[in-house]
C-alpha cells in the first residue's frame, strides 16, 4: 500500500468500489491512482498546477487543467457519484459556493481541510498576536494559498445552514484519529462525507 496522505487514506478506504468519482484539486493523482488500483474506480481529476497535471497524465490518469473556482460549472448535474475536495476548500474564493457545486455534480462529497481552531493554532495566535504558522499551515499570511481559513465548527455551521447532511466525519491529530467531541480543539485535519439534505 502506498504512503497516501492520511486524509486521502481515509477517503480511499471509505469510498465504495466501482463508483464514479471526481477528485477536485487532485494534485499529481496519488488518490486517483489508489482508487484505480484498489477500488476499480476510473476517477477523473481537476487540478490547477501544470507540473502536477503532467505527473498525473504521465500515469495515464484523466486529469483536466482547471480552477475549482470557475470550472466546476462545466460538469453536468449528477455527473459523478462522489466529488472529492481534499485540502482545497480553504483555498477557494467562495467555499460556500464550491460546496454547492460539489453536491450539484454528485449526490455525495468528501471534503477535507486543515482545522484552523486546532489548539496549536489558537495558542500561536493568542501568544504571538500574529497569523499562525504551524506544521500544517507553514506559509506566511501574505503568500498563503489558504485565503479562507475554516474551523471544524465553521464547517458544521455551514452545512447545517445549507441543509446538507453530514453522513460521516473523521478527525485527525497527526495521523491519529480523534473524537467528535474533542475535534474542535484537537483535530488538525477534518474529513467530512456530506450528502444532499
Amino acid at each position: 500500500m502506498s504512503a497516501l496522505r492520511p486524509d486521502l487514506r481515509i477517503i480511499a478506504d471509505a469510498i465504495p468500489a466501482g463508483v464514479r468519482a471526481l477528485d477536485i484539486g487532485c494534485g499529481d493523482g496519488a488518490l486517483m491512482a489508489e482508487l484505480r488500483a484498489q477500488k476499480a474506480i476510473d476517477a477523473r481529476g481537476l487540478e490547477i498546477d501544470v507540473a502536477a497535471i503532467e505527473a498525473a497524465m504521465a500515469q495515464g490518469l484523466s486529469v483536466v487543467q482547471g480552477d475549482a473556482n470557475r470550472d466546476l460549472a462545466d460538469y453536468p448535474d449528477d455527473a459523478f457519484d462522489y466529488a472529492i475536495l481534499s485540502q482545497t476548500l480553504q483555498t477557494t474564493e467562495r467555499p460556500d459556493l464550491v460546496v454547492d457545486e460539489l453536491l450539484r455534480i454528485a449526490p455525495r462529497a468528501f471534503v477535507s481541510f486543515p482545522n484552523f481552531a486546532h489548539w496549536r493554532v489558537r495558542l500561536s495566535l493568542l501568544w504571538t498576536g500574529r497569523m499562525p504558522m504551524t506544521r500544517l499551515l507553514p506559509v506566511a499570511w501574505y503568500e498563503t494559498p489558504n485565503i479562507h481559513h475554516v474551523t471544524v465548527s465553521d464547517f458544521r455551521v455551514l452545512v447545517r445552514d445549507k441543509g446538507i447532511r453530514v453522513e460521516r466525519a473523521w478527525y485527525l491529530s497527526g495521523d491519529k484519529p480523534t473524537s467528535d467531541a474533542a475535534a474542535a480543539w484537537r483535530a488538525e485535519h477534518a474529513i467530512f462525507l456530506i450528502s444532499r439534505g
Binding site: M57, V64, Y75
Partner: protein, 373 residues
C-alpha cells in the same frame, strides 16, 4: 518541381470500392499511401494511427523521399520513444487530397489518364477519416489502441472519435480545435488566393506544363508559416537583425533575417508540396466544424464517444489553435461524461510546439498510451 514530386513511388494500396464524400460526390476507388512501423500483435490490439497535419505526410518516422530530411515526428515515434514502435504497430497514411501518393488533385482521371486538377471533388476532414478507415479495413484492423494527431491531425482524431467511437480506445489531440475559426479561415484564404493569383496556376491545369505555381505556393507557405510561430519565438530567433549585411539596402532585398528565413521556407516548401493539394486540404480544414451537424452543440458530436479516453494538449504560445478551443472540447466531453485529460503546456514555439522539443509532451504521450487501462 511538382512533376518531380509526383514521380516519387510511395507504398500504397488501391481500394476498389467507392468512397462516398460529404459533398455528395464519391470517388469510384481510392489509393492510400501509408507507412507503418513496428509489428501488429497476434490479437491485433496494438495498432496506433497517427494523423498528419496540413502539410505533413505519412513519413512520420522515416526520411522524407523528396527532401531527405528525417520524419516529421521522428522525435516522438520510434523504438523506445513515447509512441514506442517496439510496443505499437504505428500507421500513418497520407490524407485524402494530398500529394504524397494518396488520391488527390494530381491523381489521374479514370477515363483520360490526365491529372484531375480541379475536377477532383472538394473533400472534408470526415472524408479523410473515412478513407483511413477503409485502409484499416484493408489491413484487417478493426480497433485502434489510439488515434493521435496534432493540428489538422487533431481534427481527424476528433472526427475519428465522433465517427467511429467503437474503433478506438484513446484519442490524443494536440494543438487542435473542433472547428476552424474565422481567423483560421481568413489565413487560409490568403494562401489560396496567393496560389490562384499565380499565372502559372492556370486553373489548376499545370501538371503537364513547364511552369508550376511555385511563387503563389511559396507565398501561401510564408503566410501560413508565420501563424505556426509565436511572436516571442520570431523575436528570439531573428529580432530585427539584418541578413548578411551591416546596413539596410534601401531596397526590397531580404534585408532582415526573418524575410530571408520566410523566403527560404516558402521556396523549400514547393519542392515537397503540390499547390492544388494545398487548396483542397485548406478547404477541408475550413469546412471543419464538428458541432455543425448537432445544431452547434459540440457535445452532440461526442454523444456516442463517451467510452473513448481523450487526451488534449494545447500550448500557451499557440495563437492559431489557442487553449480556449481545447477547453471547448473538454467542456463538451464533460457534458457526455467521457474520460478527458487536458493541459496547456508552456512552450515558446507557438503552434509548431507539437512538433518540437517539449519534454512534457513526451511524458504525457507515453502516459496516455501506456496508462494502465
Amino acid at each position: 518541381m511538382a512533376s518531380l514530386l509526383h514521380q516519387i513511388r510511395h507504398q500504397s494500396v488501391t481500394i476498389q470500392a467507392p468512397l462516398p464524400l460529404d459533398s455528395g460526390q464519391s470517388l469510384p476507388s481510392v489509393t492510400i499511401a501509408y507507412q507503418s512501423y513496428g509489428a501488429l500483435n497476434a490479437d491485433r490490439s496494438n495498432a496506433v494511427l497517427i494523423c498528419h497535419a496540413l502539410t505533413g505526410d505519412q513519413y512520420v518516422a522515416s526520411d522524407h523521399p523528396a527532401t531527405g530530411k528525417p520524419g516529421w515526428w521522428a522525435r516522438m515515434v520510434g523504438p523506445g520513444k513515447p509512441v514506442d514502435t517496439d510496443r505499437f504497430f504505428v500507421i500513418c497514411a497520407n490524407v485524402l487530397g494530398s500529394c504524397m501518393g494518396t488520391s488527390g488533385p494530381a491523381s489521374p482521371d479514370a477515363a483520360t489518364g490526365a491529372p484531375l486538377g480541379m475536377a477532383f471533388p472538394v473533400i472534408t476532414i470526415a472524408d479523410m477519416v473515412r478513407a483511413q478507415a477503409m485502409l484499416l479495413d484493408h489491413l484487417g484492423i478493426s480497433r485502434l489502441h489510439a488515434v493521435i494527431g496534432g493540428s489538422m491531425g487533431g481534427m481527424q482524431t476528433l472526427a475519428w472519435a465522433a465517427t467511429y467511437p467503437e474503433r478506438l480506445t484513446s484519442a490524443i489531440v494536440i494543438a487542435s480545435a473542433a472547428r476552424h475559426s474565422a481567423q483560421n479561415i481568413a489565413f487560409h484564404e490568403v494562401g489560396r488566393q496567393a496560389i490562384m493569383a499565380d499565372p502559372d496556376w492556370q486553373d489548376g491545369n499545370y501538371y503537364d506544363k513547364f511552369c508550376m505555381p511555385t511563387k503563389g505556393l511559396a507565398v501561401a507557405r510564408m503566410a501560413a508559416h508565420i501563424t505556426y510561430l509565436s511572436e516571442e519565438g520570431l523575436t528570439e530567433k531573428f529580432g530585427r537583425r539584418l541578413q548578411a549585411r551591416d546596413i539596410k539596402s534601401f531596397g526590397f532585398d531580404a534585408d532582415f533575417q526573418v524575410e530571408s528565413y520566410l523566403r527560404h521556407q516558402g521556396l523549400a516548401f514547393t519542392d515537397r508540396f503540390d499547390a492544388n493539394a494545398y487548396l483542397y486540404i485548406t478547404r477541408a480544414m475550413d469546412y471543419f466544424d464538428l458541432a455543425e451537424p448537432h445544431d452547434g452543440r459540440l457535445a452532440g458530436a461526442f454523444a456516442t464517444a463517451k467510452d473513448v479516453r481523450f487526451t488534449l494538449v494545447s500550448f500557451d504560445t499557440d495563437w492559431l489553435y489557442p487553449t480556449a478551443e481545447s477547453r471547448r472540447i473538454v467542456q463538451a466531453l464533460h457534458a457526455v461524461g467521457a474520460a478527458a485529460s487536458f493541459v496547456e503546456l508552456s512552450a515558446p514555439f507557438g503552434h509548431d510546439s507539437f512538433l518540437l522539443d517539449v519534454p512534457a509532451l513526451d511524458r504525457i504521450m507515453a502516459g496516455a498510451l501506456g496508462g494502465g487501462w
